[in-house]
């Protein structure tokens, strides 16, 4: 699979792309410089390059995925958020994307700091630990919740830093990041109707999507 010539619309790729990635793509303007951390096989990068004329690059920790992305002609390096972000210069990107990975990194606060150092904007999605099912399972069974989103036993989950939507907003406040937009979505990435307040979103949203920027 090579990069297609510009101007040749391939809508089916966007349709097949994970829905949360489509929501992220909608937030990114044409011609932006983008870094996608945890880019997988590069679906978002390829889409942004082709459809939005972006200069999009990626970091992926899984070697097989990274190799697939490079073989597709994409600028992807094997690396991880904890170790590799510090290498990029200040303001190197317009948008830095971290999708469904924040809860799995070693130092989420530092990763956020790096994202907003190397990028003007950060787009972050993460599974919301404050969802009512999590609260109910813990309350009713006394055991770690086992849901569609949180489906690995505590002793082998890669999700070592779970947080709720309210936790995340509090960290943004503490570290001085402006929340320019947010969405709470269901597991498939569809926008959910509880858009009016963070409290409701924290109860009913399975995935959260935030657009941050440095406070001026």
């Amino acid at each position: 699979m090579g990069i297609r010539p510009k101007g040749e619309p391939i809508r089916y790729v966007a349709k097949n792309m994970r829905l949360d990635l489509r929501l992220i793509a909608e937030m990114i303007p044409t011609g932006a410089k983008v870094l996608d951390i945890g880019c997988g096989d590069g679906a978002l990068i390829e889409y942004l390059t082709r459809e939005k004329g972006a200069d999009a690059r990626g970091i992926e920790i899984d070697m097989a995925e990274a190799t697939r992305a490079v073989a597709a002609g994409l600028a992807v390096i094997h690396g991880d958020a904890d170790a590799d972000l510090a290498q990029y210069p200040d303001g190197a990107f317009d948008y830095v994307v971290l999708s469904r990975t924040l809860q799995a990194v070693e130092r989420p606060r530092e990763v956020l700091r790096q994202m907003l150092r190397i990028g003007s904007h950060a787009i972050i999605s993460f599974p919301n630990f404050g969802h009512w099912q999590m609260r109910w399972r813990l309350l009713s069974t006394g055991r770690m919740p086992d849901t569609d989103t949180w489906n690995r036993p505590w002793y082998e989950t890669p999700n070592i830093h779970p947080c709720t939507i309210l936790d995340f907003v509090a960290l943004c406040e503490t570290d001085g990041y402006a929340v320019d937009g947010w969405l709470a979505v269901d597991e498939r990435g569809l926008r959910a109707p509880w858009r009016r307040g963070l409290g409701l979103a924290n109860l009913f949203g399975e995935q959260a999507l935030f657009l941050l920027s440095r406070k001026a």
Binding site: G2, R57, V70, A71, A72, G73, A75, I77
Partner: protein, 384 residues
């Protein structure tokens, strides 16, 4: 060692001759400068599809097809050809014998010239000046200009070829659209210099080396050059590859007798040594190993490698191999991080392989897919 068959000097390599010569980093000038080279595929009308391949220490310009000296297939036959990662149906592929080499380019085996470029009727031998990786790249630049190419679509190389690719991107950024340094490093490590020195010491210790003037005595330092190759060859492999290929098997015997037993791995190394002396010149080996040892790209930029690529327009693809201990993944990752610091467009992967450093020459489907994809992507972006 077995029989000594000096390689044939009669092969007519394709050569470009530059009478004005080349000023070297050592301040010496070689005039005329001779660059022997091969090309594969067709240069397009816009002269935009040229891919320069840089060869490694003991490689040469014969990438694919039958080698005119050894009669064996080219060293990158698995990678260069129609429909292969470096696709000769799409790209015009150039490979030049390095400066200091022994397949037709200016080097210790070629006829010595004086300061005015007049031939002196004897080979350079050890009087050939010290060369650097940058000198090699400058010589290649002359060839590329001679072929009428302003910008190379890509410069690709493994090992010492990767050093040249990095040097190309650092020295001529506007002339390199894409750069693929494979299984390489931005400087030669102390351990690698040490292994080179063992090889050089073996050559120096061979009485047939004659202080470098073996050409005068009609002799060949076959033993020394062969031992140098044997040591180097171990560094190109990995413990697991040696175990897989040879284990503790004996050559022609089932059990150890304590009487002249030969392990299969010994027999293999001796074969590697004895075939090498038929195609390689000992003084070239000394010259080129030194050039590798001198290489330290960051040293030209106050030790900050990212400065070598500051504002670079070039896109990069780096690959390393998991079992390569000569140019380990950490070296490629260090280059990748320097490129990130320079905000260069960079791809980097480590290929899982047990074949050691040699993996870049061998059948590694994932590496081939990644290199091919990178070059196709670059060609699409460059409109080539």
């Amino acid at each position: 060692m077995n029989e000594v068959v000096p390689f044939s000097p009669d092969v007519a390599h394709q050569r470009a001759v530059f009478p004005d010569g080349l000023l070297l980093d050592s301040s010496a000038t070689i005039a005329p400068l001779i660059v022997a080279y091969e090309t594969y595929g067709t240069l397009d009308a816009a002269r935009g599809n040229a891919v320069l391949v840089c060869h490694a220490l003991t490689g040469d310009q014969y990438l694919a097809g039958r080698h005119p000296v050894t009669g064996r297939p080219g060293w990158w036959e698995a990678v260069v050809g129609p429909g292969l990662p470096i696709d000769t149906d799409r790209f015009f592929v150039i490979c030049a014998n390095v400066l200091g080499g022994c397949m037709g380019s200016s080097g210790p085996r070629e006829e010595m010239t004086d300061a005015e470029g007049q031939p002196l009727g004897r080979p350079w031998g050890t009087d050939f000046p010290s060369v650097t990786i940058r000198d090699m790249v400058r010589a290649q630049k002359r060839l590329v200009e001679h072929l009428g190419i302003e910008r190379l679509l890509a410069v690709v190389g493994g090992s010492m070829g990767g050093m040249q690719a990095l040097q190309w991107a650092a020295t001529y950024p506007e002339s390199v659209f894409a750069c693929a340094p494979i299984a390489t490093a931005a400087h030669h490590s102390a351990q690698n210099i040490a292994f080179h020195e063992v090889g050089r010491a073996a050559i120096h210790a061979d009485p047939d080396w004659c202080g470098g003037a073996y050409w005068r005595e009609g002799r060949l330092p076959a033993q020394g050059l062969s031992v140098a190759r044997m040591v180097a060859h171990i560094t190109y492999l990995s413990e697991s590859a040696l175990t897989r290929k040879f284990g503790r098997r004996l050559q022609g015997a089932k059990a150890v007798t304590f009487l002249e037993d030969v392990f299969a791995v010994e027999s293999y190394l001796r074969h590697q040594g004895s075939t090498f002396i038929r195609r390689f010149d000992a003084n070239s080996y000394l010259t080129i190993t030194r050039a590798m040892d001198y290489f330290d790209l960051a040293a030209d930029f106050d030790g900050d490698l990212s400065q070598a690529f500051r504002g670079t327009p070039t896109r990069f693809f780096l690959a390393s191999f998991s079992s390569d201990w000569l140019f380990p993944t950490a070296e490629s990752r260090a280059i990748t991080r320097a490129l990130n610091r320079a905000a260069a467009r960079t791809s980097f992967i480590e290929i899982a392989s047990d074949k050691g450093h040699d993996a870049f020459l061998l059948d590694e489907p994932e590496f081939h897919a990644a290199l091919g994809g990178f070059l196709r992507g670059a060609a699409d972006a460059a409109g080539a």
